[in-house]
Amino acid sequence: MNVIKIAWRNLWRNSRRTAITMASVFFGVILSVAMTSMQYGSYDSMIDNVVKFYSGYAQIFDRAYHENKTINNTMELTDSIRKTVQQTEGVTHIASRLEYFALASSDEITKGAMILGIDPIQESYVTDVAKWVEKGQYLKEGDDGVLVSVNLANYLKINIGDTIVLYGQGYHGVTAADLFPVRGILKFPLPELNNQMIYMDIGTCQRYFGAENRISSLVIMVDDHNDLPAVMRSLKASIKDPLTVMSWDELQPELVQMIDADRAGGVFTKIILYMVVAFGIFGTIIMMISERIRELGVTIAIGMQRFKMAGILFTETVLTGLLGAASGIIGSIPIVVYFYNNPIKLTGDAAQTMIDMGMEPLMYFSLSPFVFYNQAITVFFITVVIGVFPVYKAFNLKINQALKA
């Protein structure tokens, strides 16, 4: 008779009570899995949005540029840097950008604008700007035209085929002034971007600012965000000062803080949920011990060592929790899979908030294994803590009193 066999049979001697206890764990786990899945699905979606909307998974730039985003602090993109990054395992695409400000004019109207020089082909693997083209067409490689964001275009009263004047200061103080035909109008989900963005080919942009072969940043994409830590380690080892490499979370600390705050809220809710589950299990264990006190006394009386008795009771406790957790995890899989494939569509103010943040108004679910095994680990931990009680009882049982129970 091994410990697990006896514990298993003991578990089912009061099958209804065991089933009720397991059911409390089952529903607790389903709720927790669904909540965790929704949280992590939302985080993944937010990160994906941020990464694919602008920052990429990582960027290389001059350390001085990070402190002061002037065109004089841009970096030279050498073949050596390009080759090093491209050959880093896990990196799928790189896209260079040159970013600065200029005055945009049309007839008698002038407004400050952000000029973003991009590689039209490579950029499509990062932010896919082409999908925001509302009118006209996307840039071609070496294109001498520009894409203007919708609010800026409206303000300047320009349209496809019109010409825009850009006037500003280029690299090391050269005057940057030129005329550019408008190829397309961009409409982003973020009003802030719609007010000020002008996109052009990076070669055209470098010539305009007199910054030949200079870029403000080299954007890096990886296939799977789980590869990012390894990619970052490798790049940090190979990229030398004054250049530096930063991942999306270093570039967007406010997003990380927001996720951390939300995660902390989720942890608090789950603590309450699991406390309810824990007290359910604990109640059952107290009942189980008090009902069997005489039997425990007899078993020790006839020669079972207390540690073996403790082992049986501990196993029963852990089995109760783990069986409930396993059934909860199995039960939650179809629910999570359904919502993974059919994200919850938000409506009203919540939807508008998401749209304003440049995100789709959908609540995504995650199918990450972490979502599931985390619950099993939590329930295991809870049962181990609760399991201390029967172990204590086994070691402190007074046999003569137990026999009279």
């Binding site: 008779m1 006896i6 049979r9 007899v298 020669g303 079972m304 046999i399 026999l403």
Partner: protein, 227 residues
């Protein structure tokens, strides 16, 4: 040959205001092969006495020496192991493990002793056949009558090949027929295998079968008769 020596055994229970001497200076010896009954009115100290002899309840003072070992000098784990290898118990309420079959209940104690499977199987078959339950080996306690459960309890007590068996009112919950059968079976085992049995009892039928009757009153031995 002496199996048990009991010297100046005392058990005092301290309640809030009064001290109760449940066992008050008992000196007794038990020889191998005895079939002894400890009798006396309720509260005379029978169960307390048996519990102290069986290593279940620590005496306030005195010694219980089994095979040269003062069992109350043993540490907790050693004492449990000593009980496992030297003492068999039969309780009033049978106290079988409900989730184990009759076979498993008897086998359980040998499992704790670390006996191999072949030996366990052989002894379980012998014992359950000897107590007349060869056909009910795979039944769980809930499927057995009180008499049958007590037979399994006796088989379990014998399974460890103990030096002696302590039976606390073993017939208290049994009907006449079951009592008769159980006593016959225990008497047979006592005679054929020379196993020492010590009962605490109120039951006149047990007293009648016993070859030694020790009477307790107020925790003291008032008579010790050998038939």
């Amino acid at each position: 040959m002496k199996v048990i020596e009991i010297k100046d055994l005392v058990k005092i229970y301290n309640s809030s205001e009064v001290q109760v001497k449940a066992v008050n200076g008992i000196n007794l010896d038990f020889e191998e092969g005895e079939f002894a009954a400890v009798v006396g009115p309720s509260g005379s100290g029978k169960t307390t006495f048996l519990n102290m002899v069986g290593g279940l309840d620590r005496p306030t003072s005195g010694e219980v020496i089994v095979g040269g070992t003062n069992i109350w000098e043993l540490k907790s784990r050693k004492l449990i192991d000593f009980r496992l290898r030297n003492i068999g118990f039969v309780f009033q309420a049978y106290n079988l493990i409900p989730v184990l079959t009759a076979r498993e209940n008897v086998e359980f104690i040998m499992h704790l002793q670390g006996r191999d499977k072949h030996e366990r199987n052989q002894r379980v078959n012998e014992l359950l056949t000897a107590v007349g339950l060869g056909e009910r080996m795979e039944s769980r306690p809930s499927k057995l009558s009180g008499g049958q459960q007590q037979r399994v309890a006796v088989a379990r007590a014998l399974a460890s090949k103990p030096k002696f068996i302590l039976a606390d009112e073993p017939t208290a919950n049994l009907d006449s027929k079951s009592t008769e059968n159980l006593l016959d079976m225990m008497e047979k085992l006592n005679k054929e295998e020379n196993i020492t049995f010590i009962f605490s009892t109120h039951d006149a039928r047990v007293v009648k079968k016993a070859r030694r009757v020790i009477t307790l009153d107020d925790g003291k031995v008032t008579s010790d008769e050998k038939k």
